[in-house]
Symmetry: C3
Subunit: 155 residues, 3 copies
């Protein structure tokens, strides 16, 4: 298993592993935030979810949408749309052999931007807070994509 | 190409590759289930999708939402929200050099939990069936995340 | 860092890196297309997004849905649903040591199919244009999944 350990011995790879794990775990917590809002506000989308405290016609009043639930769901989807490119392109970027300091700058900016985006979305902070968080993360991913393509384009 | 073959010679990596391929293929099948419900129930969202059997004003009656279609779509989105962290964190976990038996336990529990989640969502089974499937997969991913961060945190 | 450079020296891996980066970047552009439609048509979902040009009750008229915005959002979600399996299974496929020509055929067909899918969705082109783009990409991913599982199934 020597070659796998070698990969984890690489400092850039270790940094990528740490930041990716943190930001993906953050994204997963959005499910819990959604569930929390659904349970405290009794806002459900599936009839079986409110069957324990309401039956039949009575259950229908809990099958509705709520602004705070929809807000968390939009933040979650936005995470998904932006973390998938980060993880995919970031892995290829890491394997293209960047400097540790440059790579750390990319990873830190991205993770910081996305954490700020979530805070700005859920508070909500006045615009352009959320837009700034979004475009900073967006720019970082494109910067990594540029580096991957420049390192060796093969079509 | 020796080094790539080495990676695939690693037993943990081989197990990760098998389980990931299976569960991602399962997720892709959700698109077909959605398409099946849309076609059999004639429930569409794009005007061009029902143009072959209805024109103009007549087509509008097919542009609607349907509970069974929306249910499949929610199950699909939930898969996406949970498989993205599994694939990303799982790959890093695999490269952190876990024991084969521990790794197999994680992969088997996750894939089993997600298959059960899909069955519980689409049947639908009474709660807390679906919640159990969800939280089991959720816990497995966090357990792998913990192991990745403990193996070498570099921020 | 020799072993990382070795991976990038592999021609199949280089091709995977190029096509994955291109198609993930394409997906990210969907966010910009959505933002463009939202701003030009003044169609928003968050009250804070239209606070700069409308206050209070006056702002509510901008909180609505619009067909062209929803269309881009559906194309974006469909991308996400199909690129996640492509990136995950494609990476494992690349590491399973396929011929360069076979791998290039898979990557080119997938990326071409998804680009066509986006054009067909946003124009929109009459069906079955979009369906063809979808099923071609779908088939390519399953073909790679089959190869990964045949290369060494370990459950």
């Amino acid at each position: 298993m020597a070659n796998l350990d070698q990969l984890m011995d690489n400092e850039v790879f270790q940094a990528f592993a740490s930041y990716t794990t943190i930001i993906l775990s953050k994204m997963m917590l959005m499910s819990t935030v959604t569930a929390f809002h659904r349970l405290t506000k009794k806002v459900f989308v599936n009839p079986e979810d409110c069957a324990s405290f309401a039956k039949g016609e009575n259950a229908k009043k809990y099958l509705r949408t709520d602004d705070s639930v929809e807000r968390v769901r939009r933040a979650h989807l936005n995470d998904l749309e932006n973390l998938v490119p980060f993880v995919g392109i970031g892995l290829l970027y890491t394997l293209s052999g960047p400097d540790l300091s440059t790579a750390l700058l990319h990873f830190r900016l991205f993770v910081g931007a996305r954490l700020f985006h979530t805070v700005a979305y859920l508070t909500p902070l006045p615009q352009p807070s959320r837009a700034l968080g979004f475009f900073l993360g967006y720019g970082v991913t494109f910067s990594m994509a540029y580096r991957v393509l420049r390192a060796g384009l093969r079509l």
